[in-house]
Symmetry: C2
Subunit: 359 residues, 2 copies
């Protein structure tokens, strides 16, 4: 590999302009690079006479000078970068979190960069490693599974790290989470209040805390309110539309007693389940009530508007960013945060009273 910058390009039709350096603008003005550096930095403005400052600014503009952030960060020790690592950007629930993060870090002059793991632990590890090599100032992990805890803690010895979106228990970093246990409880309480007696879940993968907690909250409240829960034989490998279909089919095809209300652990799974019910001519909510989780966009406009639980993503992202920024500022002990979800009843759940006997 030759020294790419000048050589590689020289023979090719497309040429990219060489970038002006601090030394270039200094030379242009017969100044020293250090003076130019000071003149261009607002916080060191005052060390330079206003006349040279003006000359520097104009020359920098003329030459199209842009500071090289790599070189700068090498000296300052800060890259002014934080990275948020998401499992899957296609998940509409993550977007508000990203926006919450962006809105918090923007005021610090920090640019968040985003990376995606495709929900693959191996990719997560690689990405963490890569970002450490890149010397990002902090990491927000949005897509962790339980087995990732060790890697996260190890990264946390090097830079501030927080875990959010998918919480982890017993991890030695701040966790910014939504109270999914309460979310699950809300759904169970709703089912109970509608008079259901036999209900079931379409559980997401239990190695993701969110789903485990939804299950716990749902089950606990079901017990308290005397709701009978059909144990679902299987859980989704990934919490998707397709897996929702599969689980719904399994439930329908099993020899178990048939529940009158179903709690799908997220909206895509609920919609998958609804598509199966539609196939089989089972009416929602007349024959079967169904609730989802997350309040995805447009869930209000499905064939049957979906009862769900709103995930307060923006708030979560904001809190997560706030946590890493405080850690960056040297604040010693940064606390974990738990945000409340909000129940959103719609038409897909209804009273169990006038239900016909099970087929």
């Amino acid at each position: 590999m030759t020294r790419a910058k000048d050589d590689d390009l020289s023979g090719t039709p497309t040429r990219y302009r060489k970038r002006a350096t601090l030394a270039d603008v200094a030379a242009d003005l017969g100044l020293n690079a250090s003076t130019v550096s000071r003149a261009l930095d607002p916080s060191r403005h005052s060390m330079v006479s206003s006349s040279t400052r003006e000359r520097v600014v104009s020359a920098a503009g003329r030459l199209g000078y842009r500071p090289d952030l790599r070189a700068r960060s090498l000296m300052t020790g800060r890259t002014q970068t934080i990275v948020v690592i998401a499992a899957n950007l296609g998940n509409t629930t993550v977007t508000p979190v990203l926006h919450g993060v962006a809105s918090r870090v923007a005021v610090e002059g920090i640019v968040p960069i985003i990376a995606e793991t495709n929900d693959d632990s191996a990719v997560l590890l690689e990405l963490i490693d890569h970002m450490l090599s890149r010397r990002v100032d902090a990491i927000i992990v949005m897509g962790a599974r339980r087995q990732d805890a060790a890697a996260i803690e190890s990264a946390a010895r090097l830079v501030p790290v927080v875990v959010t979106f998918r919480p982890l228990l017993d991890v030695a970093v701040p966790v910014i989470m939504v109270d999914d246990r309460k979310g699950g409880a809300l759904v169970a309480a709703h089912f109970a209040s509608l008079g259901h007696q036999l209900v079931a879940q379409l559980p997401g993968p239990s190695d993701v805390m969110n789903f485990l907690l939804r299950d716990e909250g749902f089950s606990a409240t079901a017990k308290e309110t005397g709701l009978d829960v059909v144990v679902t034989p299987d859980e989704a490998e990934v919490p998707t539309f397709e897996e929702g279909q599969r689980l719904m089919r399994e439930l329908l095809d099993s020899d178990d007693r048939k529940p009158t209300a179903i709690f799908a652990h997220n909206d895509p799974m609920a919609i998958g389940a609804m598509s199966v019910l539609d196939e089989r001519g089972i009416k929602i909510p007349a024959d079967l009530s169904i609730a989802g989780y997350n309040d995805m966009p447009f869930t209000a406009f499905l064939a049957c508007p979906l009862t769900t639980v709103r995930y307060p993503g923006w708030e979560v992202g904001h809190a997560a960013a706030d946590a890493v920024i405080r850690m960056l500022a040297g604040e010693g002990k940064v606390a974990s945060v738990c945000v409340d979800p909000e129940f959103v009843p719609r038409a897909s759940t209804s009273s169990a009273r006038n239900r016909t006997a099970q087929p």
Copy 2:
């Protein structure tokens, strides 16, 4: 500002471990940093004896050494980074594009980083500037508007830049686009084939090429097939659910003749329009046919499954990444690409024959 790295942290409760450098592992082994550097780089492996190579690898592991990519890139001239700047990550259509990009660059050992403009030109310019300062190797712009062309061309003099997702005409960089003109034409042809005679559009903002082209394609084919098009008084400022509602209301409330089929320029607008129709008791497709654009997830499971046009996002992303990578490789003239969209008929459009007279 003091030298942050060591000083700032020293007094605080949280301490972050100092990172091992090449010099550290060299010192540990009594070697020179250059030897360690060579031992750790697969492509220069062979310049170093296998015994020292093993010692180096083990010492590097023991000390937790991670190369500093900033410093490396300063020497190599490549950051191995490309950035994709999207307008809005909440738009589910962008995700497949991102995945297409990622899948193409991964094989080059390049990590794509993602940034978001919130569809704000000022933010786009800032972001481009920032990424140039960061010395990213290339930029993929996914959220451009017409007025951004100059800034994009100016960036393109420094690094490879391609424009995609929202194409720009007359911009001196490769454009990877979907043939939205054809997409619009497909919808008009569909309406004509169903026997509609009077139709209308809910247009997206015309300073975004996609919408302009959809309009052109739709209008041209409408003319060819003898379709009469009600001129919509207004266009959406942003192509959202809410603007879809607003435009639909305007159309319904105007004194114009009432169309029997509507082409909303994207799915969220179509869904907004549907919500208004639902409010007013207008049945889809019995009273009014409606088509959207993009084939967002779950549009098949709306109250009325939506006829739409699939946006081949993955293919677009892949092609865009391929273009910048070829530019990076010094390939002179990289061509623009135009990918075909795919028509997806569903239940929201139907024959106009047995339509009642207009109210």
